[in-house]
């Protein structure tokens, strides 16, 4: 009991582990995770079994997959952007919003409103057209945040 619980308290007092996952995370977006292509009446039952998105890849004991990292830093920021792309595009256009705030946290920036303002000004270069792939969107956002030293996004390296 004590050994296990000691690990518990050490963890509770400790800080988040630094992310060691590689930058090139592939396919964390919702579109790439869908299970099959359930249509019509199956949707009615899927409403109760609730496996519309392939979260069966997120096992509890299998360790952190690339798409499950929320520790902060470049890789987790990238995963976040890919999955939250549609909501994030909206919030960036609005210069504020929940996804912008959480993005700022992952990137270690000090001021979420300043992040919102900067990304809003750069909307055109982040989303130049509708077909821009999500990893390119992530790349643009991350370099925009890095380049603006005033934002002090410490976890982007």
């Amino acid at each position: 009991m004590r050994n296990v619980m000691m690990a518990v308290s050490a963890v509770l007092l400790g800080s988040a582990a630094a992310s060691a996952a590689p930058y090139g995370t592939a396919g964390c977006g919702l579109g790439s995770m869908v299970f099959g292509n359930q249509k019509g009446i199956v949707q009615i039952f899927a409403a109760t079994t609730n496996d519309l998105f392939g979260t069966q890849t997120f096992g509890i004991t299998t360790g952190t997959s690339n798409c499950a990292d929320t520790g902060g830093g470049v890789a987790s920021t990238k995963s976040f952007i890919e999955t939250n792309r549609e909501a994030l595009a909206k919030d960036i256009a609005r210069g504020q919003g929940e996804t912008v705030k959480n993005l700022a946290t992952l990137a270690g920036c000090t001021d979420a409103s300043a992040v919102g303002a900067t990304l809003q000004k750069n909307f055109g270069s982040i989303f130049p057209n509708a077909s821009v792939p999500s990893d390119q969107v992530a790349g643009s956002i991350i370099s925009t945040l890095r380049d603006d030293k005033a934002l002090a996004c410490g976890k982007l390296g």
Binding site: Q38, A47, L52, I60, G63, T70, A89, N102, T105
Partner: protein, 629 residues
Amino acid sequence: MPASPVAERVRRDLEVETLVAQARGLGLDRREEWLRLGHWRKRLFGGFQSEADGPDFFLAKNGKSDPAAELEATLRALYGQVQLTDEQRARKAVPPQCRFPARAAWLLGELRPASLPPLDCPRFDEYFQRLQAESVSLVFSSYYLNNPASIFGHTFLRIRKHSEDVPADKRELLDSGIDFSATPDTGNPLFYAFKGLTGMFPGVFHLFPYYYKVREYNDYESRDVWEYELALTPKQLAMLEAHLFELGSTWFDYFYIDENCSYQILAALEAADPDLKLLEHVKLPVVPADTVKALYRNPGLVAGVRYRPSARTQFRARVEGMDRAARNAVEALADNPDAPLPEAGRVRILDAAADLIDVRYAKELPFQPDGKGGTIKRRVLERRADIHQPSPELVVPPPLDRRPDFTHGSSRAFAAWGGSDAAGPMVSIGYRFALHDLVDAPAGYPELSQIEFLTPELRYYARSKSLQLESFDLVNVLSLQPATAFDPALSWLVRAGLRRLRDGACNACLAGAAQLGSGFTLATAGEALALFAFGVAEVDTAPSLAGIAGAPAVRGGVGPLGGLRLRLGGSLVAMGEADWLWFPYAIEHTSWSVSTSLRLSPSQSWSVGVTGRREPAASEGLLQLFGYF
């Protein structure tokens, strides 16, 4: 004092024997804590059976049915006496010593051995560190439009991450979500339904960033989300986390009706502490809203309730109070992103248009960001971003009359008194397995969705002293979707079951009847008044039915169906419906019916009403009393 490895081994083995004997003496295998950790349930004729179905959950050969053997095996594993098989090693199963941290915590806490076994469990440590748990919430995702099955809802857990320096609102999406869901292996609707009902899909617990669920439920499915924050002590929270890790090593056969998502979430929560009384407050069918109500049967367990509006709810909040010109501009933008904008209120209009596009193209956008919806959206957002101002925060007050814990009970029984002109006075009793009709108490349910399963009604007629089955619906679904300027939605209905035909085609015979219909609904702003008009097709069959000339026992017909529903206040609902059917080639060509109902629900547990019905061969009226449980 340092000892040789052999002596150490011997000492360990002796220790285990002592602990096993001690555990037996204390009767630990019969304790509530142990039974909950193993998900063992008492069997009807004695003994136990665990609900867990994956073999890795049991270290003893007969662990699934023998809690005592499993307890002994767990102790032995903690002291290194149980090893991974080659097959388990190949698929990277968690080593037996490390697979059950909650069991270990409880057992060692009860037995208090002089020294602890060495435990090096990196996967558990990593998991625990990833969670950084501060508190846990039970999350309920509500219904979504035009899918009455979704009014059953869905529950999962949210584990809030601890953070010293980042305020909560800036890291909510980064919390962890844990859910239990089935892994279907078929897309065929019939197999899907059959397998889901009979436990032929395995259900597994998953762990993922909370934002996946927010995007899936709030955005993709446009469901409102309610979060019930639980007041667990640090010890209860740690036990819950440890137990969830244990559940990661197994699966449970998924049964829609009882061992479903919401059931397993409660079962997992119960393992955190024997004082939590959750499963004893749910019954068949296990409906997610009932599992939320079970939380409230534990005083002080729910610390608070939070609301997260769906994309559709957010859109509605944005257009609330907009004048006609602004609404038109929003609608125009959703089709043509370069549509002209009025001078004033551009930010508000562009924000609303972006939400409308998201709602309209919700199913397309994650897969095709460059599809029609994605292209329109990007241009609208570009125009918005050109205005270098942050949008004001959208505040949507939680709609308290939509909370799942305020719903009436999922099952219903009724007694009624009345009479018909054809058969005289009668008494009627009936039951409904699940869930809700359009005149039941509206709180917590979508205003205009009805879904019922298994509704037998029995009648006793005084004049003929006969007891007979009046009807038995297998399924009765009515989905009314008000057509609006923004969304010309289709309404539909499905009914199938047994009922008595009173239109002259037979003498009040009991017939199998199936009806399918589709049409449109118009409703006032608050949906208090709704009018609907459908085209329906019906097939009836009964041995004594004077049906189609060539096949007397069957008839098929089509016709219009229309109705009105009016809700007055929060607890009084009136509804009227009329239909007319034309049965070509049938001996009795037409049929019609008109029915009305009025029901008052003074509380969530009972209601009283009157109902009347006229058909070609009979008219009847009844005074009804309903109980919900």
